[in-house]
């Protein structure tokens, strides 16, 4: 793979009930990403936006953000899915030799919608929707399957919540930052056994943009380039009954592709910091395993060891992760933006000192049916 760099990133603060409309949210982050890269719109060759007609409440939702993303007068396209996939398509367009730079944007304003009903629309219309399935109830099944098989405890999941909500205190963009204990998580209201309120990510409005550039064009950028070293994505089966919910083979496959491309053989030692899609606290433990940070079933032990805390061997989600800010489709691209800031040494109070290789992870679908993994280096 030719060298492609992330040369600019921009995020809004994540919060509930933003008054800006979709275009204004996207404009805020494209402007920030351009300023970050020291570029003007004329330096952008093409644009990839990210929308979801359900979450946006309009059909062909890309129409609402095209101009704010800088699409006017240039080639543009639109992905529906997690922002890591939009960035993946942006990477491919940049590698194709047709475009030297690509702006990738994503936004979500789910405070205007009904998240439970909208996510219910992802389930089979005949057999599953009428059961009232949604993200929390389906992920509770996955959490229970995982915990039962490997003996992972609710307290170990709670430790993820304590860590990430605590890390969020260092991130000015985070929506929910909390100084809490395992006991607080355990005592928070049960939503769908074994998932409690403090195990769950919030519903946040926000937007994120990154700019990708070929090696040649990256030379003109204001900041030190962050290089894309490896990428991979993969989908598991659709129906929950056809999956072993206690493991994540699609994540293993996606990570395997990214690691092979990046030449990484021992991810737990070669990666210095990771930003993963922890929509629920149990997920981070499962993703440790899928990403090869520990062996199968050892996610609980890894959080207990403290290795993934700030100051540990492999800090995970210094930003506070998705547990502290969840703008659905934005969440994965925010992981990439945060992983890039770490490699530039610009993550301020959440900086992992001396980070050279970082990992960003996005997920989508029911119980994270699809995964996308990025390995970056400076």
């Amino acid at each position: 793979m030719d060298r492609v760099a992330i040369v600019g990133v921009g995020q809004t603060k994540y919060e509930r009930g933003k008054t800006k409309n979709f275009a204004e949210l996207v404009y805020e982050v494209t402007r920030k990403a351009l300023d970050d890269a020291g570029m003007g719109l004329s330096d952008i060759d093409n644009v990839v936006t990210t929308t979801n007609d359900f979450y946006d409440g309009r059909t062909i939702a890309c129409m609402a953000v095209a101009e704010a993303a800088g699409s006017y007068g240039r080639d543009a396209t639109n992905v529906e899915g997690d922002g890591t996939l939009s960035a993946f398509y942006g990477l491919m367009r940049t590698l194709s030799g047709v475009y030297g730079t690509t702006m990738v944007t994503t936004h979500c304003k789910l405070s205007e919608g009904s998240p439970r009903k909208l996510f219910n629309q992802a389930f089979d219309p005949v057999y599953e929707r009428s059961l009232g399935m949604d993200a929390i109830s389906s992920c509770a099944l996955q959490a229970r399957a995982y915990m039962h098989r490997f003996g992972v405890t609710e307290e170990q999941c709670a430790r993820v919540s304590v860590k990430n909500h605590g890390n969020a205190r260092n991130n000015p963009y985070a929506h929910v930052s909390l100084d809490i204990t395992v006991d607080d998580v355990m005592k928070s209201p049960m939503l769908a056994e074994p998932i409690k309120r403090l195990d769950v990510s919030p519903i946040s409005d926000g937007a994120c943009a990154i700019i990708l550039a070929t090696e040649e064009r990256a030379k003109k950028a204001a900041k030190k380039p962050v290089w894309v070293r490896g990428v991979g994505h993969c989908a598991d089966a659709y129906r929950l009954g056809e999956r072993d919910l206690s493991v994540s083979p699609a994540l293993e496959a996606a990570a395997g592709r990214a690691y092979r491309m990046a030449g990484i053989t021992d991810p737990s030692r070669e990666i210095n910091v990771a930003e993963v899609y922890d929509a629920f606290s149990y997920m981070e433990l499962m993703w440790y395993e899928g990403l090869g940070f520990c062996g199968q079933g050892e996610g609980g032990k890894l959080i207990d060891s403290g290795a993934t805390q700030m100051g540990g061997r492999l800090p995970v989600n210094p930003s506070g992760g998705v547990l502290s800010a969840h703008s659905v489709q934005v969440a994965g691209l925010a992981r990439i933006a945060e992983a890039a800031l770490q490699l530039r040494g610009e993550a301020e109070k959440r900086q992992v000192p001396g980070a050279k290789v970082s990992l960003a992870h996005g997920a989508g679908g029911i119980c994270a049916q699809t995964h996308c993994v990025w390995v970056l280096s400076n």
Binding site: T77, L95, D124, R239, G365
Partner: protein, 384 residues
């Protein structure tokens, strides 16, 4: 430049108004199996999948994940792209960039729609801004009707000129076994058909269909082994600038002009009538087959009716347009523009059967969607 890329196989379902015999996943599977059979490949040969439709027509969120049973993307990379009516063009471009990037060798693009499960025009109306435009944006037909009314006034074109386009596309469809509407019609039939939105009548208008299309793209090293005569992708282009419908320049159609300017430049086309052997154009209404020819720089402004009357775009003409019968005969929206690419590829590969244009070296396909979002693809029998 990126990896040279070619189309090596295409598959289409039998398109009709209601495919009650299959669900969405089965409809997708039908197109996928036919594309694999066309390329003599099996599912294990596919490295990645891209899929697209319009969410609100079937009301399925996360179609990429849901489709896995039909698309065959189980434990494969899959992503969804969508841009409204132009989704098929966006899909083709996405699959092309997968291969051109060098990251994947064999990639399948799948477009599909089961319009019979939707209230199509109601769903389309939600594309308009919820506060400023939605209350009075009456589905897809309004803007195109206004566009042709203006064109008639400005250039003296007639409703019969548009009817001739309808006759051409509908009658071409008689030679296409996949077409949804296959009925011989005359200009008189079109003129007598019910008025939908003046000056567009029923037979000037596309149907809504259930259907799917799959197109397989392969890298240079794989393409030659898969297909005897691959259709090489020389360029893709897109242009889009919507904010509000009222902002669009209806007279000069800047997005169509920008798209064709880009594709002609990238593919080295100077005179489209001479340099392109066949076009598969996304013409949702016969009126578009008049107005848009001008802006595609096939002729000067206001000259399209003259060329249509001369039969330049007929099967026996200098530049045959829509040998397949086009969108007027078949319109499973998320698949419609990908069908244009598939049909253009079949023409280059010499596999278009009764609708084959003689000795096609260069074919062009277009896509149209949202508020004048245009895409284009140029395919050739020689490598780029």
């Amino acid at each position: 430049m990126g990896t040279r890329t070619a189309i090596v196989g295409v598959g289409q379902t039998n398109h009709t108004s209601k495919r009650k015999d299959v669900n969405g996943q089965e409809l997708i599977s039908e197109a996928v199996k036919r594309a694999l059979a066309d390329a003599d490949l099996s599912l294990k040969d596919i490295d990645a999948v891209v899929i697209g439709n319009m969410d609100h027509f079937e009301a399925i969120n996360n179609v990429d994940g849901w489709s896995v049973d039909g698309s065959g993307a189980f434990m494969k990379p899959i992503m969804k792209v969508t841009t409204g009516g132009s989704t098929g063009g966006t899909l083709g471009s996405c699959a092309y960039h997968h291969v051109a990037s060098g990251l994947f060798d064999v990639v399948m693009a799948i477009g599909w729609e089961k319009n019979s499960e939707s209230d199509t025009q109601a769903a389309i109306s939600t594309c308009a801004d919820p506060i400023v435009e939605r209350d009075f944006f009456g589905g897809a037909i309004g803007p195109n009707a206004a566009e042709y009314a203006m064109y008639m006034k400005q250039y003296g074109a007639t409703q019969e000129d548009a009817a001739m386009v309808a006759v051409r596309d509908h009658n071409n469809a008689l030679r296409n076994p996949h077409a949804h509407l296959r009925k011989f019609i005359t200009v008189e039939d079109v003129m007598k058909s019910p008025m939908l939105c003046w000056p567009i009548k029923l037979l000037d208008s596309c149907p809504r269909s259930d259907g799917a299309c799959a197109v397989i793209y392969a890298s240079e090293t794989r393409a030659a082994k898969i297909a005897a005569k691959p259709a090489w992708v020389h360029a893709t282009a897109v242009s889009h600038d919507y904010v509000y419908f009222g902002d669009y320049d209806w007279e000069m159609m800047p997005t169509l002009r920008t798209t064709v300017d880009r594709i002609y430049r990238r593919a080295g086309i100077t005179d489209p009538v001479k340099d392109v052997d066949v076009m598969e154009l996304y013409l949702p209404f016969s009126t578009c087959g008049v107005v848009w020819m001008d802006h595609m720089r096939v002729c000067g402004l206001g000259e399209a009716p003259k060329l249509i009357r001369k039969g330049v775009f007929d099967m026996s003409g200098e530049l045959p347009v829509n040998p397949s019968g086009g969108v007027l005969s078949t319109n499973p929206i998320g698949a419609t523009a990908l069908i244009r690419i598939a049909e253009a590829a079949l023409q280059v590969m010499g596999k278009a059967g009764d609708r084959q244009v003689h000795d096609v070296k260069t074919a062009m396909a277009t896509a149209f969607g949202s508020c004048y979002w245009f895409e284009a693809t140029v395919l050739r029998s020689v490598k780029p």
